[in-house]
């Protein structure tokens, strides 16, 4: 019989329709060449399939951070960030997450269940923001419509961004970190953040106040948008307020 054992074996192992399949199986019993082809290819397939593997843990977080960073950079007018910068940004995001001890960027669905809890036990937007800062959380994974403020002049680089709701108010949040690892969050909203009971006004400025809550310094300023700045470093909060021209 004149035939091509390699071709027949390849077709047989993939999909050979009847009646050709039955005929070939009968032929296999009498043809050493085809038998060897099938045996070797089956063995090779088992070896290859045995090498199936899962991607490293964290790869999905890296991808999510890369996509979010690219969108944020694009919104800020830097549409074509270089790969190494992108990698650095991803590393920064991962580092922040690692320092926090867990991945805490909640999905909007998860967030909504938390919002329901907030309704049952009311808390102000400011205390919710302080909680988010302490837990290193963003209000959602939706990309903010506006671009991230540039705080590089005071050594802060963007490590995350998200839009969502804080105590019922729509907010955009930008998370920054300096070289020492100190974090600062910038909340922006078209709605004024309610003043905390412990708030102290900055000089004679009725539109700006500060407070301390659970070890977090908070600075709130009203302008075209209400801005809330939070950090464990009160000096950094003031510096950011000056750079952003809100105090």
């Amino acid at each position: 019989m004149s035939h091509d054992p390699e071709l027949l074996a390849a077709q047989y192992l993939d999909h050979m329709p009847e009646p050709a399949r039955g005929d070939f199986e009968a032929h296999l019993l009498t043809c050493d060449g085809c038998w060897r082809e099938i045996s070797l290819a089956r063995e090779g397939r088992e070896i290859a399939e045995g090498a199936r593997e899962l991607a490293p843990a964290g790869i999905r977080d890296d991808i999510r951070a890369t996509i979010t960073a690219s969108i944020t950079a694009s919104a800020a007018g830097r549409p074509n960030i270089r790969r190494r910068h992108r990698a650095a940004l991803v590393l920064a995001v991962v580092a922040v997450v690692a320092l926090a001890g867990a991945v805490v960027m909640r999905t909007p669905a998860q967030r909504s269940s938390r919002s329901s809890a907030a309704v049952a036990s009311p808390r102000t937007a400011v205390t919710a923001a302080v909680d988010d800062y302490r837990e290193n959380e963003l209000p959602g994974t939706t990309v903010p419509a506006q671009s991230a403020p540039d705080l590089s002049s005071i050594g802060l680089h963007l490590v995350g961004a998200g839009a969502g709701h804080l105590d019922g108010a729509a907010v955009s949040v930008f998370a920054y970190r300096d070289a020492a690892g100190t974090r600062l969050s910038v909340y922006q909203s078209s709605r004024a953040f309610p003043e905390g009971a412990e708030a102290q006004h900055l000089g004679d400025d009725d539109d700006a106040w500060t407070m301390q809550a659970s070890g977090v310094s908070v600075l709130c300023a009203k302008g075209a948008h209400s801005t809330l700045l939070l950090s464990s470093d009160s000096a950094l909060v003031r510096q950011a307020g000056v750079v952003l021209n809100v105090i």
């Binding site: 390699e6 074996a9 060897r36 290819a41 063995e43 890296d62 996509i67």
Partner: protein, 188 residues
């Protein structure tokens, strides 16, 4: 639909395929350090294209993009005349590995290195079908090659793997000499 919804929809549709993209990237990147970059670049290009079209088969679509990114990277390397390694260096078992895990790693590394001994077309065909689980028809669509060509590549690659890694090294190889890949047939 705003960009936030778009971005969430994209991630929901594509992140489930991260394992296959990573598996493919490992067989395309000439340096282990480039695998993560290749994966990230694949997702960035996919996201850039997401606004223009929604793929029917996101897994196959991502694999196609990953292959293109891998080819671009190879061309870039070639232009720079950089020293391209023959294949990745396997990770040595760390001191914290148990003996069983270390053996499993060595087995996995042997297969990985054996895959790198194959011609690129065979390596890609095996990766798509045996490691990523695509059918021959899907692999043909992803690589833009006739189904028969994909079948021939995967068949020859499987035989080569078996000869490299099994104890049956004395088995003769059948059917050499067909097509452009004949010179890449495994040595017995």
């Amino acid at each position: 639909m705003d960009s936030g919804d778009d971005h969430e929809e994209f991630l929901e549709a594509t992140l489930r395929h991260a394992d296959l993209v990573h598996a493919l990237a490992r067989r395309l990147a000439t340096r282990p350090a480039d695998v993560a970059d290749l994966v990230q670049e694949t997702y960035l290009r996919a996201y850039a294209a997401w606004g223009r079209r929604r793929p029917d088969d996101p897994g196959a679509w991502l694999a196609t993009i990953c292959l293109n990114v891998g080819r671009d990277e190879l061309r870039r390397h070639a232009r720079r005349k950089a020293a391209v390694e023959d294949g990745p260096v396997p990770d040595l078992p760390g001191p914290q590995d148990t003996a069983e895990a270390a053996l499993a790693n060595l087995r996995s590394d042997r297969v990985h290195l054996a895959l790198w001994q194959l011609p690129a077309a065979q390596r890609v065909a095996i990766t798509l079908m045996d490691l990523c689980g695509f059918t021959a028809a899907q692999a043909a669509s992803i690589t833009d090659a006739p189904r028969g060509t994909v079948l021939a590549r995967v068949h020859r690659g499987r035989k080569a793997l078996a000869l490299h890694l099994s104890d049956q090294r004395d088995l003769p190889v059948q059917g050499t000499g067909r097509g452009s890949e004949a010179s890449h047939e495994p040595r017995s």
